[in-house]
Structures are given as structure tokens and as C-alpha cells.
């Protein structure tokens, strides 16, 4: 029954787009989610390459900071002070305003035990919430979707906007929607073939289970790809409709991050069933000549995030959205000979949104008692994830994270 309905919807194309989203009405009506909070959404922004936390939340009053940093130092007089120890990077102006309004939580010293200084290994840990990384299975957002939202939505409720989807959204059973641009997000075939193209995704083999073991690998791969094709067709109509219709008085910066957050805002406001969004900002791997590049990146982040939060504040759906900004690691306390910094360990995480209790969380790591020259972590990143999964979404954090982590009291 559901299949037929959806086929009609697809044939109807854009005229119906966005109205039903990924959510099947029957599952919603059943109301099987006692704890789950259906209106809530989350956006995860990844600062790829290892953000230099000491240049983002600057311990300007710490003598050890001045001693370790010369070429990469953010001057104390330019810092946007939060208290008499730390302040935000001078380009994080809009985030500073958010701080004053009580909408910015800064979690300090975030990391995990035995952190390797490898981008890939560290990203794997952040993406899976598990020390084993990818070998442990799906990404944590994929698991969140499967465990909390799968009964209410037939396909993934996770959308990545940007070039390559991070492993966090990875799920074998429910592949995330991933797109770089909504306008190009469709198959451009002739009308008659487009009908066949849509049908081809509709799991032909459910009717006729593959019998030959001679092609077991092929058949398993085709099954997965057909599911993906189905999701592609469905989400294409919905997402393009949502973005084309979106009207906001808020101006976004003309950067890829700005455009991506604009489109995410459009999807949040369209009534689409997506619950979790992901996007990235790259180029944080500042081994050499860090200062200018990092200053620029802070500005790109601040302008885009500022607009996004302003846009979200307008509506109930927006206010029901929490934003997390993380990076795979902070950087070495002592700068290197190339006016840059090498891979380090702990760093700050930002949590933003109308539902967020602003302020400082965790504990600022010592700049003198170091872990192999790096900031030692004081706060496990999974205590941030746990707050989002458990307190924000009302889902079972231990299932998603594969262990018990006390959530920080980030949400009001």
C-alpha cells in the first residue's frame, strides 16, 4: 500500500514535494515514541583538519599561552573577552553576541582517551563514538537515525549537505541523503525513462528473491543500490521543492558554508522529515603559516553560523534545532618552525541554539601539564553526544554511543 502511494507521489513530482517528507503517516499516528521529541532537529558542523582551539577560545591571560605561541598568537587586546582568562577569536563577533544572549555553550577540553594524532583515526572515533572507529560499524548519526527515527520514517532522516559525506552519517541499512546542491539534485532523463528510472529503485527483487549463489555479491550490492536509488528519487523531489520555495529575510554570506546552512534552514522549515543535518568547513590543517588562514576560517564560520542562528530564531521549527560545531582534534600547544601548529589532542566544542543553556562546560585544560605536548582532554566528547541523543532527542544514548556517558546539562 505504501509503495503504491509513494509511486503516485513520485509521479506527481514537485507538486506534492515536501508535503509528506520521509515520514509515513501510519507510523506517526501509532505514536510509538514515548520519549522521542518529534519536532527536534540537530545540525552537526565539522571543522575538518583539526581546528586550533587555542586560537578560537583564547586563554589570553595564561602566560603559558604567550610563551608557546608567537607567530600564531591571537593578541590579547583583540580577543573578545568572555572572562578574565579566556576570550573568543576577534572574528567570532556574532558568536560573541550569542554568548551575551545566553545561546552559546562552549565545552572546553573535549577529547577522548589515547587520542592518536591522525586525522583519519581521530575522525573515525568522533564519527563512530567508538575507540575502534569504522571497524565498529555505522557512524553515530546513522545509528541515531536507526535507533530513534526508523520506526517513524521509512528511509534515512539524515541529510548531509556538501561534497563528501562524513562517516558519521554512514549507515549500511539506511544510507543518508547527501547532496552538494539542491538544484542539480535530480536525474535528467526523458520523461518516459524517468518513470522507469523511478520504478527501478522500487526493490524489484522483493518480489523475486535472488536465487543463484553464483551472483551473491552482485545481488547484495544491487539490493543496496536500489534502496539508494529509491531514496534519491524521493528526496530529490522533496528537497528541490523545499529549497526553491524557501523565503527568509536573513542574509547569508556568499560562501559554501553559508549556502549550505541556508539550504539546511530551508529543509528545516519545509516540514521535511529530516531530523539530522551535517555539513563541513575544511582547511583547518594549519601546519604552516597558520595565522591568516585561521583568521579567515573563523570569519567564514562566524558569518555563516551567525546568519543561520538568526534565521532559526524566527520560527518554532528553528528554535527546536540544536547546532554542534566540532573538530577532530585541537593542535599542539607549542607552535612549529613553519609558523603553524601540528596535530594535537583536546579542543573546544560549540553548541548553539535557542534550546541551549549558554555558558562554559567541561574544564579548560592546563597549558603546562601537557599530554605529550598536547592539551590533555578534560571532557569526553561523548558527554556532548549523550546530551544531544538523550536529553535533546529523548533517545537511548547508550545504544547510539555503545556505552554509558553522562550527558552534559547543555539543554534547558
Amino acid at each position: 500500500m505504501l509503495l503504491t502511494d509513494r509511486r503516485d507521489l513520485l509521479r506527481g513530482g514537485l507538486s506534492l514535494a515536501g508535503s509528506l517528507a520521509f515520514t509515513s503517516p501510519s507510523a506517526l499516528a501509532a505514536g510509538r515514541f514515548l520519549g522521542e521529541r518529534p519536532g527536534r532537529r540537530a545540525v552537526v558542523i565539522q571543522l575538518s583538519g583539526g581546528n586550533d582551539g587555542l586560537s578560537a577560545v583564547v586563554p589570553y591571560a595564561d602566560d603559558a599561552y604567550g610563551a608557546a605561541r608567537k607567530a600564531t598568537r591571537v593578541p590579547a587586546k583583540s580577543v573578545l573577552r568572555l572572562d578574565d582568562y579566556r576570550g573568543l577569536h576577534p572574528n567570532l563577533k556574532r558568536m560573541r553576541k550569542l554568548w551575551d544572549a545566553g545561546g552559546l555553550a562552549i565545552v572546553e577540553g573535549v577529547g577522548y582517551p589515547d587520542a592518536p594524532r591522525s586525522h583519519f583515526k581521530s575522525l573515525e572515533v568522533w564519527h563512530t563514538a567508538r575507540a575502534d572507529g569504522r571497524s565498529s560499524g555505522d557512524g553515530w548519526l546513522g545509528r541515531l537515525d536507526a535507533s530513534a527515527f526508523s520506526a517513524a520514517a521509512r528511509s534515512s532522516t539524515v541529510v548531509h549537505v556538501g561534497r563528501e559525506a562524513p562517516y558519521s552519517v554512514y549507515s549500511i541499512a539506511r544510507p543518508a541523503i547527501s547532496l552538494e546542491s539542491p538544484t542539480g539534485y535530480k536525474w535528467l532523463g526523458a520523461a518516459d525513462e524517468a518513470v522507469a528510472y523511478r520504478m527501478a529503485g522500487e526493490r524489484l527483487d522483493e518480489k523475486r528473491e535472488a536465487t543463484s549463489s553464483r551472483n551473491s555479491g552482485r545481488d547484495a550490492a544491487i539490493r543496496r543500490l536500489r534502496g539508494l536509488l529509491d531514496d534519491a528519487n524521493e528526496s530529490s523531489a522533496q528537497i528541490r521543492g523545499a529549497v526553491a520555495r524557501y523565503r527568509t529575510p536573513v542574509e547569508y554570506p556568499r560562501t559554501a558554508l553559508g549556502a549550505g546552512l541556508h539550504d539546511i534552514a530551508a529543509m528545516i522549515h519545509s516540514g521535511l522529515g529530516a531530523r539530522v543535518f551535517s555539513t563541513t568547513l575544511g582547511k583547518f590543517d594549519t601546519h604552516a603559516q597558520q595565522k591568516n588562514r585561521h583568521d579567515g576560517l573563523m570569519q567564514v564560520l562566524d558569518l555563516a553560523l551567525g546568519s543561520f542562528v538568526q534565521d532559526l530564531a524566527r520560527t518554532e521549527a528553528g528554535r527546536d534545532t540544536a547546532v554542534i560545531v566540532f573538530s577532530e582534534f585541537g593542535r599542539r600547544v607549542k607552535e612549529n618552525a613553519s609558523a603553524g601548529t601540528d596535530h594535537g589532542k583536546a579542543g573546544p566544542v560549540f553548541v548553539v541554539g535557542a534550546g541551549v543553556k549558554g555558558g562554559l562546560y567541561g574544564e579548560h585544560p592546563s597549558l603546562t601539564e601537557l599530554d605529550e605536548g598536547d592539551l590533555a582532554f578534560t571532557t569526553d566528547f561523548r558527554s556532548v553526544y549523550s546530551a544531544l541523543v538523550g536529553d535533546w532527542f529523548g533517545a537511548d544514548a547508550s545504544v547510539v554511543l555503545g556505552g554509558e556517558y553522562a550527558g552534559l546539562p547543555l539543554f534547558g
Partner: protein
């Protein structure tokens, strides 16, 4: 069969493992047929057409493997060094700052153009596939011993590195490892030019162990620190050749993986090659690359031993692998998602059409495989990670352009937006941006994008990339060189089943499931009748129908596998 009978049979099989019905695994024989030959072409090369496959089915697997391994001695890309030339100019010291900047800018432009030309040369080699295994292995090394043009920014270094991979593609891993530690592109990519005594930069040391030789978990943090010291002073001259700077080198004793001594870069390579894990890691990466799944432990050990005992020569390993019945297992054949390059190059080869190589370079980049620019030092993730909802549709769109089935007006969202009563913006992307892309400018990063663009252009870039690709094809007067109606007429194919079978055989790298064939036969028959066409397909409307169906076939999940 009843449960008792099944139980009886399986106990019989246990008692008589080598019986005719249940041949023991050790006696597994390579079943050489068209499916196996196509599999070898797909994985060791870049696909083949049915006629080529039929020839090699007759010749046998050994002959095909030797054919693939045989050296061809083909001509390398002729490379210049515009940026190096301008740096070496004596006059540079005399001219004014403005003039110097102008000269450098010109050299940079010339350099980027050379890199574009090189990428097109590379892709052309993939499409013509005169030396398919060498090209396959070159791509493998590019994804393993990664460097990126975006970071290196000197075309000559990247091209030289590529030639290093091509020259040693099936040669010795030991040679490659030693050479890569003195390769300017690599030294630049992983910042070893800033690795100096007293102020080590660990980037290269870490990646050499983690990704190039041993794998995570087979060395300690201390090994990385010590290896970084061994690599101090290994850098390059401003002109671009490798140079050892003795004064930057740390001559003190180092402890690397239990070996103590005053090690330098080649000592480090020797220490790594002496590790038992090294051969295991490289054999594992190779098998995974060709098969798409991790090898089973015992089998991996056999291959690791083969590599180790053969002094890291690759040819014996490849020969054994390609004749190994396990390479043709049911869970491997046709089960891997083709990379964007495999998909586009393979489609081009199977269609038997020619297109500007630049189309493949840009198309593959849009699908996530930017040749010369792997996403990070780990290379491309590969496998199912190649496919998202977005790139699945994009693959179909690109091949639709090749077939002339996707045209500029299809890309125009105006009609659709008007339907939705939306204000239509004037022009999604300025011509300036377009031109910059045409010149092969690397994608702008966020930091560089502070210059104003039209508000939605960043988001619409992918769409405008498609537009640009189409404009490029239009300007070059591209017409698809396929004539399906003729090919089908010549073979006297009459029934809908015959026509669809022909297209599937020609266009897919795998055997499609029966249900896919049935769906397509029904679709083709319906479309043919709707268009009022008989069994004999005419040149105009018949050809259009065939191309539309070919476009559909190449957009299906079945066409993404190989």
C-alpha cells in the same frame, strides 16, 4: 529435500570431502568464461567490449594475464617547469616587485594549464587502454602514496611523481617506498621541507608508517617522533629538485621500531621494509584494491609471504592473484561499486564513443574522484562510499550527456521554478566564474570565496559545472559517435528481447539479474509501440529510442557495479 536427507548429505560430504559432488577447496579450479574474463578486465584494466572478451576467453587466462603484465614502454608526458623557470631567471632579481608578481602569475597560469593537459593525457591513456594494468596500478599508487596538486601547486612535481608510479607500477614496492621519501611532491605535500633538526615536523613520518607501509597500530608514538628526526633535512631546492640539507639534518642516534642508529631517510625505508607487517600491509591493500573486500587472514599471509620472499617485487603477486580462483569468487564478481573513473572510462569504452578527455576529468571530479587531488592523505575511500543519492543521479546525468540525451535546456531550472511560482534569478553563475573554471582553477575554498558572488552561486556550482561541461561539448561540436540502430540492424536483431540483451551485453560490466532484463524488455516494447515503430528500427526515431534506453541502462544500479 527433507531435513534428514540434508543432514545425511552433509555428513557424507564431511566423510568424503573430495567427492565429485563436493570438490575440496584446495582443488578449486579457475572457471574461465566470459564472465571471468570480463571480471579480470574490469578489475585489472578499465573494462572491455564483448568482442574483446570473446577473444580472450579462447586464448585462456594465462595468456590474458601475461598480456596484461607485458611491458609496453610507452612515451611519457613531456613536462616543462614554468614556475621553476621563472624562479631561476637571473633577471628576477633586477625587475620591480610588480613585474615579478606579473611574471609569477603568468608562470602559475602556464603551470595550471600544463597540469590540465597532463590530466587529459592521463585519462586518454585510460580510455585507449593500451597498457591497462600499468594504468590501473598507477592509479593504485596515486591513491596509496598520495599527494595533491592543490597542496603541492607545482605541476612538474605532480607529473614526475605520476611518472614514478607508472615506471614502477608493477615493479618493486621497495623501490617506490625509497623513491617517495625523496620525491619533491611528497616532501612538499606532507611538509617535510619544514622538518628540521630541533624543530621536527612529524607529518611525513607519521603517514609513512600509518598509510604507506605498516598501518595503524604497528608502531608507537615514539617511533613516529624518531622517524621524523630521520627525515629531517630531506627537502628540495627552490628550483624543484630533491636535495638533502645536511645542516638541517639531525645526525643523532634514533630508535625506530627497535633499530638503533644514526638513521636517515633511506635507513628508515630499510627499517620499514624489514618489518614483517610491511609486506602484510601492502599485500592487503593490493588485494583489497582488486577484490573490494578484505582478504581472509590465511590467504593474506600467503600473499604477504609471496611479496616478502620476492623482495617486494609486485609482478609475481599480481600474476598469482589474477590466476587465483578466489579472485573469481561469487561474492567478488560484479559486487564492487565502480569508481567514477571506472564508471566513466568504462562507459566510454563500452559505448565505443570518443569524447574530450577533459569531460572525464571534470565529470569524475564531480563524482568525487578528482585525479591528482585525493580528498586527503588517506586517498579515496572507495567502494560503496563512491555512491550517494546525489552521485548516483549525477552518474546518470553525465552519461546522458555523452549520449546526447541530456542537453542544456534540461539543466535549466527556470521552468521548474516558475511552476513553483518562484522568482527566477537572472543568471546562476557569472561568466567570470565559468571562465575561471574553464581554465582549470582548483575549486575555491571557503576562505578564498570572500569575494562576492551572486548569492546562490556557491550552492549552484554543481549545476553550473554541468552547464559548463555541456557548453564545452557544444563548443567542440560534440556529437555522440554511437549508431545503435545500425549496429542492431547489422546483427539482424529483431525481437525486443534480442535488442535489450544486446544493449545490456554491450553497456554493462556485469551480467544483469533476470528481473532487470524483464523490466527493460517490457519498457522497450511499450516505448517502441507508443512511438509507432515496428521491429525494424529506423535511423531517426529508432535511434533516439535506443539512446534513451541506453541512457536508462547506464543510470541503473547495475551499471554502477563491476
Amino acid at each position: 529435500m527433507t531435513e534428514i536427507q540434508v543432514a545425511l548429505l552433509s555428513s557424507l560430504a564431511l566423510m568424503f570431502p573430495a567427492s565429485a559432488q563436493e570438490p575440496a577447496e584446495t582443488e578449486a579450479k579457475l572457471e574461465w568464461d566470459a564472465r571471468a574474463a570480463e571480471h579480470l578486465f574490469n578489475r585489472a584494466g578499465f573494462g572491455a567490449r564483448p568482442a574483446e572478451i570473446r577473444r580472450w576467453v579462447e586464448a585462456g587466462p594465462e595468456a590474458l594475464v601475461e598480456h596484461l603484465l607485458a611491458p609496453r614502454g610507452s612515451e611519457p608526458f613531456y613536462v616543462e617547469d614554468p614556475e621553476g623557470d621563472v624562479e631561476r631567471l637571473r633577471e628576477m632579481r633586477k625587475v620591480s616587485g610588480d613585474e615579478r608578481r606579473r611574471l609569477r602569475q603568468l608562470a602559475r597560469q602556464k603551470d595550471r594549464r600544463q597540469y590540465q593537459a597532463f590530466l587529459e593525457w592521463w585519462v586518454e591513456r585510460l580510455i585507449t587502454a593500451d597498457d591497462p594494468l600499468r594504468e590501473r596500478m598507477t592509479l593504485f599508487w596515486h591513491g596509496l602514496l598520495t599527494s595533491s596538486f592543490q597542496t603541492v601547486k607545482r605541476s612538474r612535481w605532480m607529473i614526475d611523481q605520476n611518472q614514478l608510479f607508472r615506471d614502477n607500477a608493477t615493479g618493486s614496492y621497495a623501490t617506490l617506498l625509497k623513491a617517495i621519501l625523496k620525491d619533491p611532491a611528497m616532501l612538499r605535500y606532507l611538509d617535510n621541507n619544514t622538518n628540521k633538526k630541533g624543530k621536527p615536523n612529524e607529518n611525513l613520518a607519521r603517514e609513512v608508517m600509518e598509510l604507506f607501509s605498516l598501518g595503524e597500530g604497528h608502531y608507537t608514538e615514539s617511533d613516529v617522533k624518531e622517524a621524523a628526526r630521520a627525515l629531517t633535512g630531506h627537502s628540495f631546492q627552490p628550483g624543484g629538485t630533491y636535495r638533502f640539507f645536511a645542516r638541517r639534518h639531525d645526525y643523532g642516534p634514533k630508535d625506530i621500531l627497535g633499530a638503533r642508529g644514526r638513521h636517515d631517510a633511506s635507513d628508515l625505508a630499510d627499517i620499514l621494509l624489514a618489518q614483517e607487517q610491511c609486506a602484510r600491509y601492502i599485500a592487503g591493500r593490493l588485494i583489497h584494491y582488486f577484490e573490494g573486500v578484505e582478504p581472509e587472514a590465511q590467504r593474506l599471509e600467503r600473499y604477504a609471504a609471496l611479496l616478502r620472499d620476492g623482495g617486494y617485487e609486485l609482478e609475481p603477486l599480481l600474476r598469482t592473484l589474477f590466476l587465483d580462483p578466489d579472485f573469481y569468487r561469487e561474492d567478488i564478481i560484479g559486487a564492487r561499486v565502480a569508481s567514477p573513473i571506472d564508471f566513466l572510462v568504462g562507459s566510454m569504452r563500452r559505448l565505443g564513443t570518443r569524447i574530450r578527455p577533459q569531460f572525464v576529468v571534470l565529470g569524475a571530479a564531480m563524482l568525487g574522484e578528482r585525479l591528482g587531488d585525493p580528498p586527503n592523505v588517506k586517498g579515496w575511500e572507495g567502494g560503496e562510499a563512491w555512491i550517494s543519492t546525489s552521485t548516483l543521479m549525477m552518474r546518470g546525468n553525465l552519461v546522458g550527456m555523452v549520449l546526447g540525451e541530456v542537453e542544456t535546456e534540461d539543466l535549466d531550472d527556470r521552468a521548474e521554478l516558475e511552476l513553483l511560482a518562484v522568482d527566477v534569478p537572472d543568471d546562476p553563475a557569472s561568466d567570470a566564474t565559468d571562465e575561471a573554471m574553464m581554465q582549470g582553477e582548483p575549486m575555491m575554498s571557503d576562505t578564498e570565496q570572500m569575494v562576492p558572488e551572486s548569492p546562490r552561486s556557491a550552492e549552484q556550482r554543481k549545476n553550473s559545472e554541468l552547464t559548463r561541461l555541456l557548453r564545452g561539448l557544444d563548443r567542440a561540436g560534440y556529437r555522440p559517435r554511437v549508431h545503435f540502430a545500425f549496429r542492431i540492424g547489422k546483427l539482424r536483431l529483431r525481437t525486443d528481447e534480442e535488442v535489450v540483451d544486446y544493449l545490456l551485453d554491450e553497456l554493462l560490466a556485469i551480467e544483469p539479474p533476470a528481473e532487470t532484463r524483464a523490466m527493460l524488455v517490457a519498457h522497450f516494447a511499450r516505448e517502441r509501440e507508443d512511438a509507432g515503430l515496428g521491429r525494424k528500427l529506423p535511423r531517426g526515431s529508432g535511434e533516439r529510442l535506443l539512446r534513451r534506453v541506453a541512457h536508462l541502462i547506464l543510470s541503473l544500479p547495475e551499471a554502477q557495479l563491476h
